[in-house]
């Protein structure tokens, strides 16, 4: 259990989560039925009241599910772990899928779970899009799909604070795509999201040939809690 999660739970929830962690540590396969029941057993709600959907800071139940999956993972070989991750995601509701995606940041499974990231990025659920673009995607997702994921955040209103690896992976091609996005918005007489301006500014500092409107770091640009 992380310190952050420890602070978020009441005594009963904390005790219940410790019990669940002990249970999956001794019998990892139990996670199949304990993972869906986590919110009911341990607690639920935003970790940050200003981020009710947990786009940047995972919600209480997300963090508890991640803790549970990490505990189960300790005793599994990679093949069994990946099979269970696939099953938890396939049979999970949106909350459970989100927690699986969050957990990928902490699990050593290489690139074999990229299908799940791809599934989340194909949909329109902003909670899944945000969860899919953590450090796992930053490490493993190919450049084309990662850039499109970032652009999708701008389209769907997912704060870029949810996206890991912008400084490392942002490149000229992403700058071109974001500039196209802002051009279209401007042509349509629509507002430019602060995140788009900020991102373009970040990226063009690496590409002086692009003349970006200067921007400041948006309020929601915060350190990601991994």
């Amino acid at each position: 259990m992380t310190d952050l999660l420890d602070d978020l739970l009441d005594n009963e929830g904390r005790a219940r989560l410790i019990e669940l962690i002990d249970e999956v540590t001794s019998t990892p396969a139990r996670i199949a039925v304990l993972f869906p029941a986590v919110a009911r057993a341990v607690g639920r709600g935003p970790a940050d009241p200003d981020d009710p959907d947990g786009l940047v800071t995972p919600r209480v139940e997300d963090q508890a599910r991640v803790a549970l999956l990490r505990a189960a993972a300790q005793d599994w070989n990679t093949r069994d772990l990946v099979a269970e991750i696939d099953a938890l995601y396939r049979h999970g509701d949106a909350d459970e899928k989100r927690a699986v995606l969050r957990a990928l940041d902490h699990l050593d499974v290489g690139d074999v779970a990229l299908d799940l990231v791809g599934d989340a990025l194909r949909g329109n659920d902003t909670r899944l899009i945000a969860a899919a673009l953590g450090s796992y995607a930053a490490r493993h997702l190919d450049a084309h799909n990662w850039r499109h994921g970032v652009l999708k955040c701008l389209f769907t209103g997912v704060p870029l604070a949810a996206v890991s690896g912008i400084a490392e992976r942002g490149d000229a091609e992403l700058a071109r795509m974001v500039e196209g996005f802002t051009d279209e918005r401007r042509a349509a007489g629509r507002d430019i999201p602060a995140d788009a301006t900020w991102l373009l500014n970040q990226l063009t500092s690496q590409r002086p040939d692009l003349d970006a409107t200067s921007g400041t770091v948006p309020d929601q640009q915060r350190v990601r809690h991994d």
Binding site: A32, F35, P36, R40
Partner: protein
């Protein structure tokens, strides 16, 4: 009048139905997993269906002020199809979820060995997951099917008060009343049971463990039959408290045994989305 329809297949109904149900007093429903009117060809088809019951349909109901719960099971008819057998192994993942208030519909269709085996296994799963059970009784050979269902329930060791035997009529009500199980009646436009026959049964047997549902689905059926039964009760001299007991408190007591009912009023927001999609069809949420 507040109504909990404890058995209705909303996936097959329209938004007009949701509006009419709300206007008639329906504030909560349970949607049992059943068959589609034609066979599923794989287990994956079940998973999409279960996901829909737990996801999109719950969201859709909430858009009309109605709390939606579901029961999950491999239904009796498809228990005979080997292509769907693996569903049994995956059911525990779904039975663990919020909003799943019973194992069901289980039971018999044609009373085959395969049906019995799947029925028994799902009674065990109900015990393992601490959930009540919704038992469908067959259209054909109903008396024998009901009798055998009660035998299997008794043999399972589940407390009878955690089992609801559904689709009863005048010839099956007596044996279920004696068993200690809950008694379910599906009020249909012209088969199974109608509201006036139902009122006579209530006069004979009382209101203990009695449950009435519309069982509305893709067939000819009426999602307002619960409300119409309430009216027939009043016409026959039952009190408002009797109506409330039959149409709200009894189903709440039965499914409440799951510990997973959510009955606080829904804050209706039709601009909300489920996984990025709304019920507004083309009108983007403001």
């Amino acid at each position: 009048m507040r109504i909990f329809d404890p058995h209705i297949h909303m996936t097959s109904r329209t938004t007009d139905d949701y509006e009419a149900m709300y206007a008639a007093g329906v504030r909560a429903v349970t949607e049992p997993a059943f068959w589609l009117g034609q066979p599923r060809s794989s287990a994956a088809s079940f998973y999409d269906y279960f996901d829909g019951l737990l996801g999109w349909e719950r969201f859709r109901a909430s858009q009309f002020g109605i709390r939606h719960h579901c029961t999950i099971a491999l239904n009796p008819k498809e228990a005979n199809d080997p292509r769907c057998a693996e569903v049994l192994d995956v059911l525990p993942r779904y039975l663990a979820k919020d909003g799943v208030v019973a194992v069901g519909e289980v039971g018999f269709d044609s009373m085959t060995d395969a049906e019995e085996k799947v029925f028994v296994r799902q009674l065990e799963l109900a015990g393992e997951h601490d959930l009540p059970v919704l038992v469908h009784t067959p259209h054909r050979d109903k008396v024998e099917g009901t009798r055998r269902s009660l035998e299997l329930v008794a043999a399972s060791g589940l407390p009878p008060e955690r089992v609801l035997i559904d689709h009863l009529n005048e010839v099956t009500v007596g044996m279920v009343a004696e068993s200690g199980c809950w008694l379910g009646f599906s009020i249909y436009p012209d088969t199974k049971m109608d509201e006036h026959r139902m009122v006579r049964i209530l006069a004979d047997y009382g209101l203990d463990r009695m449950i009435v549902n519309s069982a509305a689905d893709w067939g000819r059926s009426d999602p307002l039959k619960t409300a119409k039964t309430g009216q027939a009760m009043r016409d026959a001299g039952f009190s408002e408290d009797d109506v409330d007991r039959l149409l709200w408190r009894n189903p709440v007591a039965f499914y409440g045994q799951s510990g997973r009912l959510l009955l606080d009023p829904v804050d209706v927001d039709q601009t909300a989305t489920f996984e990025g999609n709304s019920v507004l069809r083309g009108q983007r949420p403001a």
